[in-house]
Every structure is written in C-alpha cells, then in structure tokens.
C-alpha cells in the first residue's frame, strides 16, 4: 500500500465522524523505485492532504518532506523527487491502519489493507 492510497482511505465504521487520517502502524516497509512523472505529481499535489501525508510518511520511516508546502515548490526538482518518493515508492507491506476515533485496527497484509467491516460496524 502506497501513501497515495493511505491518503485516500478513511475509517468506514458506521457513526465515525473523524475517520481521517488513519494512523499507520508499520511493521514492514518496502521501497520500490518507480519512474517519476512530474505531471502526475502536480495533479496529485492538488488532492493530497499534506499534513496527513507528512505524518504518514514519518510512520513509514521517511522524514524528508517539508511540513508546509505551496504550489511554488512544484518547480523544485528536489521537492518533486521527495514528494515522488514518499507518495509512490514507499510501500506498507505489513502493519495496520488505525481508526483515529475508535482505535479499530485495519490490518495490512502483503501490501493490501483489509477494510472489511464486522457486522456490528456496518
């Protein structure tokens, strides 16, 4: 699971109002390089919730992202490179995503988050 996906996930438990972002418990993180596409990054920049992204990135062991950003930074190769790395090259293979409101753990196994709810959570 990439951090892009993590940034798109929120707790789906019934009644939860503040289900984003899910807190990451990282047990196994893998880095897989992938070609950078600046256009893609610029589009994603508009949609990513930055604070959640930085926090998640730290949970995965990467602390090279600036705390605050503006679109001017997209002109910087250095920034793009770090953004790319954190967004697309870090994979949570084993661990869990934790609902910020209920503490309920959604396991992540082999890079796949399990968001299936139990009957009483639907």
């Amino acid at each position: 699971m990439r951090l892009l996906t993590h940034n798109m996930l929120s707790s789906n438990i019934k009644g939860v109002e503040k289900g984003f972002p899910l807190r990451i418990e990282a047990e196994k993180v893998v880095e897989k390089p992938v070609e950078m596409n600046a256009d893609f990054l610029r589009k994603m920049f508009e949609k990513v919730e930055w604070k959640a992204f930085v926090e998640a990135s730290r949970s995965m062991g990467y602390a090279q992202l600036p705390e605050e950003v503006d679109s001017g930074m997209l002109e910087s190769d250095e920034f793009l490179s770090r953004f790319h790395h954190a967004l697309l090259e870090l994979h949570l293979e084993e661990g869990a995503l934790v609902c910020p409101e209920t503490g309920r753990r959604f396991p992540v196994n082999k890079g796949i988050p399990n968001m299936l709810l139990h009957e009483d959570e639907v």
Partner: protein, 257 residues
C-alpha cells in the same frame, strides 16, 4: 488479431487462479474488448486515476493497465474486491504481467468514498449480475462473484451511486450487464444523474445477452418525457428480449466458467 491482442491485454496463461475466485470468462473478455475498442479514446482522455470494483482474478485491471500502458506514464490504478482470495490472485496476475495497481480488500469502495470522491477518471466494473436468491448476494467465496439477487441488480444498484460519487467530471464508467438486469432502466436512472450512455459491445448466446455499457457525464443530458420515451424505445429495439430466468452460468453450459 490474436497476437495484437496478446500484447495489449492480460494473457490467460499468466492470469493467476484460485478455486474461490472468478476466472476470466466471456463477460471479462467482452469488457476488455470494449476497453480495447476504446483504446485511442482512453489514451486521449489521459486518465490519472483508474479503478476497478470487483477485480476477481485481476484480468481486467491488468488488461486496462496494459492497454493504457507505457505510453501514458503517471496513471494510478486502484482495484477492490470483497473476496480476500481475489485480491491475492489479482496481485499475482499483476506481477506476472509487470504492471501494478493498489489493491484494497473492501466492499465496493468502502473506506475510499470520502477522499476519492470526484477523482476517478476511468472506472470498470464486472459486477455480480446473475439473478439469484437474495441470500446468495455477498455470500462468502466465489458465489459473491456472480450472485446478483433479484434481476441480478442487488450489487449493481449499490455500485452505481458509488460510481457517481467517485467519478471525476470527465469520468467514464464501463459496466457489464445482462438483459435480465434491465439495462435500459439502468441507463435511464443514470440519465437522471446526468450521464449519457452507449452500448459498446453486445454479445448474445442462446440464453442471454451481455451488454457492455459506457457511461459519461454529459451536460446536455436532461430528463424529459419525450426523451425518456425515445430512449426506452431506442434501447428496447436495440436489446433483444430474452427470457429472464436462465442463468448466464447455466448448468448446461459447456465452457469452464
């Protein structure tokens, strides 16, 4: 044609399998054929985010990634399935073809609805569309891959509002339906939400007809009485009227699906 297709779509010999996961069948092939037929449109469309709901073996999402391929760097793929074996198999299929997608084990798009709203440029769905008893819908294992409840619409009717919510302004939805699902009524429902539609591929057997429908937002699409009737009339004549109560996966079928 065969060799052209081999490079552009997932290859059956490389598609992983599991006895609780739906194997690619005529409906999967028809959906991929529809995507292939739309290939140049899809490339021109420059989608950023593509999604499959119900990835099964991974045949369709893998094919979509191959179709959009290396010519369009910077596309993110997401696929979901409710069956844990399906996401596992999909990962194997993706790996075997050298393509990648983010996989999530979930019911339709549960967990993604808040943040992914309005971001999906291409969505593909081969839903459980077979008319079955209600209690088979969502049953564990492979049954959930085909069980569609009354008129085979139970899951389709849950997918459509989710698709509407997740699709971007320029978003396209490709969906597999049977005549039994009453596709003209589906198109009318979608029309009320501002979607135009077209049947890209129709394939008929003795028992049933598959229709691969494409939906897109169209600002010119309005619902008025005259248009409704002409739409229904047009679709009605287009779609063959076949008895409703035979299953696509009938017990008499010779194929291995």
């Amino acid at each position: 044609m065969a060799s052209y297709k081999e490079n552009r779509t997932a290859q059956i010999r490389l598609v992983s399998s599991h006895n609780e996961v739906y194997e690619p069948c005529d409906d999967s092939f028809a959906l991929v054929d529809a995507l292939l037929a739309n290939r140049s449109n899809l490339l021109e469309h420059c989608p950023t985010m593509c999604m499959e709901i119900g990835c099964g073996s991974g045949y369709v999402i893998t094919s979509l990634a191959l179709i959009l391929g290396r010519e369009r760097g910077g596309v993110n793929y997401i696929a979901t399935d409710i069956n844990p074996n399906a996401v596992k198999v999909t990962r194997e299929t993706l790996d075997a073809h050298g393509v990648d997608a983010e996989l999530i084990l979930t019911d339709i798009a549960s967990g993604l609805e808040n943040r992914l709203a309005g971001l999906v440029d291409v969505m593909v769905v081969n839903p459980p569309y077979v008319p079955t008893p209600e209690d088979e819908v969502g049953a564990e294992g492979i049954i959930s891959s085909w069980a569609g409840g009354e008129n085979g619409r139970r899951v389709i009717d849950r997918v459509l509002p989710v698709a509407d919510h997740l699709l971007s302004e320029k978003g396209w939805l490709y969906m597999v339906t049977l005549t039994a699902n009453n596709p003209s009524e589906i198109c009318l429902q979608m029309k009320k939400k501002g979607y135009a539609s077209t049947i890209i591929i129709q394939r008929s057997t003795e028992e049933e007809s598959l229709h691969i429908i494409k939906f897109w937002r169209d600002s010119d699409t309005t619902v008025d009485e005259v248009t409704d009737q002409s739409l229904i009339g047009f679709l009605g004549s287009l779609l063959s009227q076949i008895p409703l109560f035979s299953l696509w996966r009938g017990s008499n079928s010779n194929d291995n699906c």
